[in-house]
Amino acid sequence: MTIMQAEPMVKIRSLRKRFGSVEVLKGIDLDVPHGQVVCVVGPSGSGKSTLLRCVNRMETIDSGRVWVDGELMGYAERGDRLHLLPPAELCRQRRPIGMVFQRFHLFPHRTAIENVMEGPVTVLGASRAEARRQATELLERVGLADRADHYPSQLSGGQQQRVAIARSLAMRPKLMLFDEPTSALDPELVQEVLAVMRDLAASGMTMMVVTHEMGFAREVGDQLVFVDGGVIVERGDPREVLAAPKNDRFRTFLGQVL
């Protein structure tokens, strides 16, 4: 049910980001059309996480523009001047963008279902009954209905990550960002998380996925971008790019991950 629209879900133009004197992103251009899955790969420290964090405005940017669903992130454009958005507006912009972290970051003082209810209750002002009903449904969807009352420390890594995905989905996002969602998992737990992500992609969710799982990229990705040294070095259809990488550094990188 991919609806093709002229304006992509994510539009990134000439994005630059520096930490102190180190420029981490050096001019990124990227489109993520509605309903598509873009996989971002690259060596450690190449700026993949930073790129994702610029999309939901967890990081400020130094130049360039990021639009999500047609809305400029972080600024209001009035005349030819940019005005920083007030914090409340940034929160509003972030709300429909889900983010899943390498290290899950579930709230340890809340049970699985309370984690999933947290966003709707606190941010959207949903009633607890309504949030609980929706959270139960979502836990069902990620296959953890029977773990609803467990605390994160009582769950395996794979289960925690699936709860974290459910927690993001509870905000009814239009875009999901995944930052190496399976990198902290034992090998036998990776597939259960990828399965959930595969379902999500099949349901038409727009996704940006930083990953080292080339199998997943090949199977689910609509686009693959290779980031190295803060620039996109190679991009294209995952099946084609992975079968015949053009760039030397990309080829070396693939040799290391595969």
Partner: protein
Amino acid sequence: MEVTPTGQMPTGGSPVELPINAVRPPRPGRLIGAAVALFFMVWLAYTVIVNENLHWDVIVSFLMDGRILGGLWVTIQLTVFSMAIGLVLGVLAAVMQLSDNPVLRGTSGLYTWFFRGTPLLVQLIFWFNIGLVFPNFGIGVPFDGPKLIEWQANELITPFTAALLGLAINEGAYMAEIVRAGIRSVDPGQREAAEALGMSHRQVLIRVVLPQAMRVIIPPTGNQFISMLKTTSMVSVIAGAELLTVAQRIYLGNFEVIAMLIVASIWYVVLTTIASIGQHFIEKRFERGHAALGARVRRNLRPFAKEPA
């Protein structure tokens, strides 16, 4: 070595697989040390009990004296209120200290610097005599503008309010450090996860950061509370009507100095004991979600801990 599915050791194996039941080497030093300590304790208890100068009958008769119980009640009130206000001040100061705003950071830094840098005794006497500096208080336009309501300092500042001001504001400066350490102990990833859900700074703090910081904040706060039960006795310098002041007033009349001090001490020990028990239960409550791991490990190890059948 094979282990059956229930995790039990196969029986009748070689002696190497049997549980260890070894003889301990003799440790005469420990025995002698224990004997000396025991002897000393018994001797101390004996001399205290038979000592006629301690007037045990007086101590017993004053333990439930109305004035003493009144002082006890004031001590409890002072402790609870000044800790509560101190905690609120501490959270405020800690949040200000960790904010991006340099003015807020500076204000908070000045507060903790000043009130931790001057003796509590001096602060108490200062608050009690604040009328000498500011004879009138009012609500209205700042910088000597017209006032809507005005009070005389001498009416407002009773020994109790002066004590409360002094203890609470001083406590807030110490609580600020404790709360700050608690907030910093929370994984930054927690803040990020909460922000990614679209929570405001305030929501992140109240829903995610502070509840987790509690685990680190509560044990030292319990210590502060217990310490505060006894620190209230300093209020006796401004005649605060708490336990020690009352005990002093009584012994100025009947000259039973030691007996009255023992009466007060007994109540302080009772209070701190109750507080310690309370602290234990509150700490358990805030271990939620963290103790679970230990419980799970124990549960999983249980089959292996069984004796061979």
